[in-house]
């Protein structure tokens, strides 16, 4: 048990260690005073905290809403509405994340909460679509034999449809996370902070060290999250 957990966490821990090494190194070996002032433990931790917080809030919201709405749309009564929503979602996903953030800026303005709201709406799309598609694609024969054996619609949903759609839902969440991490790095443009802020400061000060520190931490965060959800995706499903 402990061994499996260790194997699971080995890669993430290694990557976290790399992030720590990079941060410690850059804070202790600034190339000049500008870098020294921009890169402190406080500033790095603040950016990282904002970044993770931004993602966490928007992702949890998106998972809850995306899955619930996906389930609702997959009910026979709302099926046709669901098909329509699927098309809207496809168009929505084609719109670039920067455009979404920018449009939200013109709608509500600047700040952390605007960014959370925009990321939340943007991340719902793949989760909702995959939940809907995952449930809809459960073969009729399976649903029918469950019905024929006397399962109630609610039991069919929880015991049959959701478990069978689970891998597809997780794939949707994975897509959403990748999109979300990417967009979180852009949140700095609407004054919501995050690791993107380090990059932007570095670019405006023309100091590569700050740019690279910000970029590395953002990249490591993304890779760690993607790795973890990839493990969930691969490990949980035993039956295919």
């Amino acid at each position: 048990m402990a061994k499996t957990l260790f194997r699971w966490l080995f890669v993430p821990l290694l990557l976290i260690a790399a992030g720590i090494v990079i941060s410690v190194y850059t804070v202790n070996n600034p190339t000049d005073s500008l870098v020294a002032r921009a890169l402190t433990y406080d500033s790095i931790l603040k950016s990282l905290r904002e970044h993770l917080w931004l993602m966490l809030v928007s992702m949890i919201g998106a998972i809850v809403v995306g899955v619930l709405v996906g389930i609702m749309l997959s009910r026979p009564k709302l099926y046709y509405l669901g098909r329509g929503v699927e098309n809207v979602v496809n168009v929505g996903q084609t719109i670039p994340s920067l455009a979404i953030l920018a449009l939200f800026f013109t709608i509500i303005g600047l700040g952390f909460r605007v960014a959370v709201f925009a990321l939340f709406l943007y991340s719902i799309l793949p989760i909702l679509r995959n939940t809907f598609a995952g449930i809809i694609n459960v073969p009729d024969s399976i649903i029918e034999s469950a019905r024929g054996m006397g399962m109630s619609p609610f039991r069919i949903l929880t015991l049959i449809e959701l478990p069978l759609a689970f891998p597809i839902i997780v794939a949707g969440i994975r897509t959403a996370i990748v999109i979300n991490v990417g967009a979180a790095t852009l949140a700095t443009f609407i004054a919501a902070g995050g690791l993107g802020e380090l990059i932007v400061i570095g670019l405006s000060l023309r100091r590569d060290m700050i740019v690279l520190t910000g970029a590395s931490l953002a990249a490591l965060t993304a890779i760690i999250l993607d790795y973890l959800i990839g493990q969930v995706e691969a490990k949980v499903v035993k039956w295919v």
Partner: protein, 370 residues
């Protein structure tokens, strides 16, 4: 037990009804086979009994109770259901699949576990070996067995089976059919069995209901159906070789006891004794069994030429196939044709020798009929 009265089913958007004014009564403990060409409404009829489809008009009584007024979930919990596509749950193990209805009925864990093991054994699967596997790890025939075990897990008095043995090769199908009939002899359920294979219908059915274009054409026992088809359609469905079809109706054990066959030889008999036995009874070969009466093979007179003093064991030819005594005469015929021999050995489940059937025996049966 099941009474279908003036039932019509029209699907929304369809011009003609899928089932038209159908009347059918099925007695307790009977297997009623619905048979007919594809699209004639067999599945639809069956699914109205557990209200997967609601009849457009008419009524259905189960044990005298109006099924259409019952709570559909309660109704279904007491009706075993095996569908055309089997419909095993791919994310649940075989055990979990079979435990579905016990869990819906909130049985205690221990009872469910015991019952699951019992059911798997009943359909010829090893609970230890197969129980923890997923459906994707089983063969087609094994999946069909699980489908049947799952439907019977809480001993429902009624079973609905839609082409339950449809998706397997003919040899496996014959085997599953025989095993199922053996189980049915013990449990005596009321069964609605759908197929479009008339041979299967004749073999499995206590009664056969022939359908065409949503209407019931004839409901009769297999024997009556063969000897007195109601119209052109039924007689073309049962086909020309009616006397051969009768081979489906007769089980090997029914004729085996009347046959006068030489005793099998034991493996440790000497060659000389066997030759003597063959010469005396004027036959050319004899089956050989071991001490537990298990079938070992056959010895022909030609194999023994110029051999003396040795044991029979050294000259046995193994047999490719044998049949069990609850197989039908038609099964015996298929094995003979397949092996290109004029005989087939009959054994019981433990492979113990029961007798031999020859082509001549089959001819006699067919002749008697005519």
């Amino acid at each position: 037990m099941i009474k279908i009265e003036n039932v019509t089913k029209k699907f929304p958007g369809m011009e003609i009804p899928a089932v038209k004014d159908l009347n059918l009564e099925i007695k307790e403990g009977d297997i009623c086979v619905l048979v007919g060409p594809s699209g004639c409404g067999k599945t639809t009829t069956m699914k109205m009994i557990n209200r997967i489809h609601e009849p457009t008009s008419g009524s259905i009584y189960i044990d005298g109770q109006d099924a259409l007024k019952m709570n559909p979930i309660k109704l279904r919990l007491d009706i075993g259901y095996v569908i055309q596509e089997i419909g095993l749950f791919p994310h649940m193990t075989i055990e979990e699949n079979v435990a579905t209805v016990p869990n819906e009925k909130k049985w205690p864990k221990e009872k469910t576990k015991k019952k699951v093991a019992e059911m798997l054994t009943l359909v010829g699967l090893d609970p230890e070996l197969h129980g923890k596997r997923y459906p994707s790890e089983l063969s087609g025939g094994q999946r069909q067995r699980v489908g049947v075990a799952r439907a019977m897990a809480t001993d429902p008095p009624i079973m609905l089976m839609d082409e339950p043995f449809g998706a397997v090769d003919p040899i496996t199908r014959a085997k599953l059919q025989n095993e199922f009939l053996r189980i049915q002899e013990r449990v005596g359920k009321t069964i609605v069995f759908v197929t479009h294979d008339i041979d299967e219908a004749i073999k499995m059915g206590d009664t056969i209901a022939v359908m065409r274009d949503g209407e019931l054409v004839q409901h009769a026992s297999p024997n009556d159906l063969l000897s007195a088809p109601a119209d052109e359609f039924v007689s073309s469905l049962v086909g020309r070789n009616r006397s051969i079809k009768r081979l489906h109706l007769i089980r090997i054990r029914e004729i085996l006891s009347d046959l006068d066959r030489p005793k099998p030889a034991k493996v440790d008999t000497s060659v000389d004794d066997i030759r003597k036995q063959l010469d005396e009874s004027d036959i050319r070969s004899v089956m050989v069994v071991d001490r537990d009466n298990k079938l070992k093979g056959i010895i022909g007179i030609n194999d023994l030429k110029k051999k003396t003093g040795e044991q029979a064991a050294d000259y046995i030819q193994e047999l490719d196939q044998s049949v069990t005594s609850d197989a039908t005469l038609n099964d015996a015929l298929s094995v003979m044709l397949e092996c290109g021999e004029g005989y087939v050995a009959v054994v019981n489940e433990d492979d113990q020798y029961q007798g031999t059937i020859t082509l001549g025996d089959l001819l006699n049966v067919v002749k008697e009929d005519e």
